[in-house]
């Protein structure tokens, strides 16, 4: 049985006049200890997916339908108390910007100890000892002193390590990391990712890594979902998706990587922008930006088709494959 199993999850936002669909029937699984990457441009619905898994969408967002089975329980149907018991305990989250994630007026110790005491019957001193151990695990020097410090006394990289330590405090089964390094210095990004990978591997913790960085995904994860306008358009093993992307959008993302371009050349970009949620085009949402789009793409939403272990939602994927084959034959 998988650790997390999401089926037909639909998230909507109740706007003043109408409701907008932010996530459109997405389904995926995470096995125990598995690391899954969710990639896509801004506005694809990656972060919303993360918050929906925690059932932590803030108004006007809400889960409209679907199922989120986590360790055999449906997160969607949980009451507040059950949700509180799950959050931070069995499923933890790492936020994007460490500079604003920690409460500025509470010490690091207060923020760690309260988390432990919310879930376990511990004395303050016991909780403090666990906090020190966890800080040591994320390589925070002299953790005893850090506990009495306030967030503003620490650097961004240090704070993100502390947030990771908080996420790991109660040995959760799953960690959702929502762009954990975008707000950090490039030199620190790699350290943080390496740390996260190490901790997930050694503790057998499942990870959902939300990012727009394909490089990070290829290093960190075993499987990848590619999202576009609230849908999963391609999913499968990370290596296959990076090496042999099927969906034109995924291909565009990979071609846009600087490594794919010679020095001095312009970076290849996908023309146009992600449609806004209020104005998603009929048919395949990617069709206005897709060079292979046909009339069928403009009228019907593509079904998911299987290619080995890869699932792709594209009408033209057959034709693209035969094109590829022909080009390879020519070469």
């Amino acid at each position: 049985m998988s650790l997390l199993s999401v089926r037909d999850l639909t998230v909507k936002f109740a706007m003043r006049e109408n409701t907008v669909t932010a996530l459109n029937g997405i389904s995926f699984d995470v096995a125990k200890g598995e690391r899954l990457g969710i990639v896509g441009e801004s506005g694809a619905g990656k972060s919303i997916t993360g918050f929906a898994l925690m059932n932590l969408l803030s108004r006007p967002g809400f889960i409209d339908s679907g199922q989120i089975m986590f360790e055999g329980e449906d997160v969607v149907g949980m009451n507040d108390k059950q949700l509180r018991g799950m959050r931070g305990n069995r499923m933890a989250m790492i936020f994007q910007d460490p500079m604003v994630t920690l409460n500025p007026v509470l010490t690091i110790g207060q923020q760690m100890i309260e988390t432990l005491m919310a879930h376990r019957k511990l004395s303050r001193e016991e909780a403090r000892q666990i906090a020190i151990v966890k800080l040591r695990e994320v390589y925070i020097p002299s953790p005893e002193d850090r506990l009495d410090q306030y967030p503003h006394e620490l650097s961004g990289g240090m704070r993100q390590r502390i947030i990771i330590a908080i996420a790991l405090l109660l040995d959760p089964q799953l960690i959702i990391a929502d762009e954990p390094t975008t707000a950090l210095d490039v030199t620190i990004q790699a350290d943080i990712m390496e740390l996260l990978l190490e901790l997930c591997q050694s503790n057998q913790v499942g990870l959902i890594l939300i990012t727009h960085d394909l490089g990070v995904v290829s290093q960190m994860t075993e499987r990848t979902l590619v999202m576009y306008a609230g849908r999963i358009i391609e999913s499968g093993r990370t290596r296959e998706i990076i090496n042999d992307p099927q969906h034109p959008y995924t291909q565009g993302l990979i071609n846009a990587l600087p490594q794919q371009t010679l020095p001095g050349q312009r970076l290849k970009q996908i023309p146009g922008n992600m449609p806004s949620l209020t104005n998603i085009p009929p048919g395949c949402p990617f069709n206005p930006r897709c060079e292979y789009a046909t009339d069928l793409c403009r009228s019907r939403i593509p079904e998911i088709s299987h290619f080995g272990e890869v699932e792709v939602a594209c009408h033209e994927v057959q034709r693209l494959q035969s094109n590829d084959a022909r080009q390879e034959a020519k070469a």
């Binding site: 509180r84 007026v105 988390t115």
Partner: protein, 326 residues
């Protein structure tokens, strides 16, 4: 800590200097003091002589320095009407005013925090809408009108509270008279305190509400939720502590402003404080008393602001008083 304190005190002194300058400048423009001192029958020659003796013909600077020098020694001039040192007159009225401000502050602090937090957490309930609606009414109606309406309803119509004066007061520490030690004193101070609070209270409810709503949207509150923390702890520790930081700053300024607002409240309730005294002094063109009042109120303002800044530094960990100014 010490360096910051010294710096803050120097700032306060600079502000007091400006206030005294303004106060003194007003003095020269509020009519001819001689007319108040002597009658119609005194000849122009004697007037000139008196003017010389009183130093009224000296340059502005000389006069100011003399005034400031005296003020530093606690001499703010002599009231024309009471024929007593102006400062003594004011200090005698000060306890009444400060107790009124204290009463209003208690009401504001005691009610604005729970009401502000409630309306921020549950903005859509009928009670929240009612509180917000009433707060607009409270802000919009001037203090003197609120005070008169309160007298009409609670004193005249229901007869629950007395309509004027301080009632029974008890002397403590020699000269301080307090309302808070007798039942009659309490009855007398309730209406004026609410009247005085009637503008600041809604303002604070709205301020706390909007700050709190903003804080509740913050990432650290979301993170606290993601940690599985009890909502009560999130509201009253995580959010409220951040909410109150800006409120403290505004609050300090407002307490000073309230001392000035007492003029209206005290007049309506015939409260024997320095606001009531000030209005009488204006009617009597008692210039030294007016100027002394301005300077004392300015002083109270500066002192409360300085204290509030120090408190802010203690509450907000990102302001490190120990290292500031060093």
């Amino acid at each position: 800590m010490f360096a910051y304190l010294v710096k803050r005190v120097f700032q306060a002194i600079a502000v007091m200097f400006v206030i005294s300058l303004i106060g003194f400048a007003i003095q020269g423009n509020l009519g001819d003091p001689l007319r108040e001192l002597v009658g119609q029958s005194v000849s122009e020659e004697t007037r000139q002589q008196l003017r010389d003796e009183l130093g009224l013909n000296d340059s502005f600077m000389t006069q100011y320095l003399r005034f400031a020098g005296n003020a530093l020694q606690g001499d703010l001039g002599t009231s024309y009407f009471f024929k007593e040192p102006a400062l003594d007159v004011i200090l005698k009225k000060l306890p009444a005013t400060l107790e009124l401000v204290m009463g209003a502050t208690l009401i504001i602090v005691g009610l604005s925090v729970p009401l502000g937090v409630y309306t921020a957490i549950k903005p859509d309930t009928i009670l929240s809408r009612l509180i917000m609606g009433l707060s607009i009414v409270g802000i919009s109606i001037p203090v003197f009108l609120t005070a008169i309406m309160m007298i009409f309803v609670f004193s005249v119509h229901y007869g629950w509270f007395p309509s004027f004066g301080r009632g029974d007061v008890v002397h403590v520490w020699g000269y301080w008279e307090t309302n808070f030690l007798t039942a009659d004193g309490w009855m007398h101070i309730i209406l004026p305190s609410f009247a005085l609070a009637s503008i600041m209270l809604p303002l604070f409810i709205r301020l706390i509400r909007s700050e709190m709503m903003e804080v509740l949207q913050s990432e650290y509150v979301k993170f606290a939720k993601a940690k599985g923390i009890n909502p009560r702890r999130i509201y009253f520790l995580h959010a409220l502590k951040n909410t109150l930081l800006p409120v403290i700053t505004v609050g300090g300024v407002q307490i000073g402003t309230m001392v000035a607002y007492t003029i209206l409240t005290e007049t309506v309730f015939q409260w024997p404080g320095m606001g009531f005294m000030f209005l009488e002094a204006v009617n009597r063109v008692d210039t030294p008393l007016i100027v002394a009042y301005l300077i004392v109120v300015g002083f109270i303002f500066v002192v409360t602001n300085t204290i509030v800044d120090l408190i802010y530094g203690l509450v907000n960990p990102t302001v490190n008083i120990a290292r500031m100014g060093a």
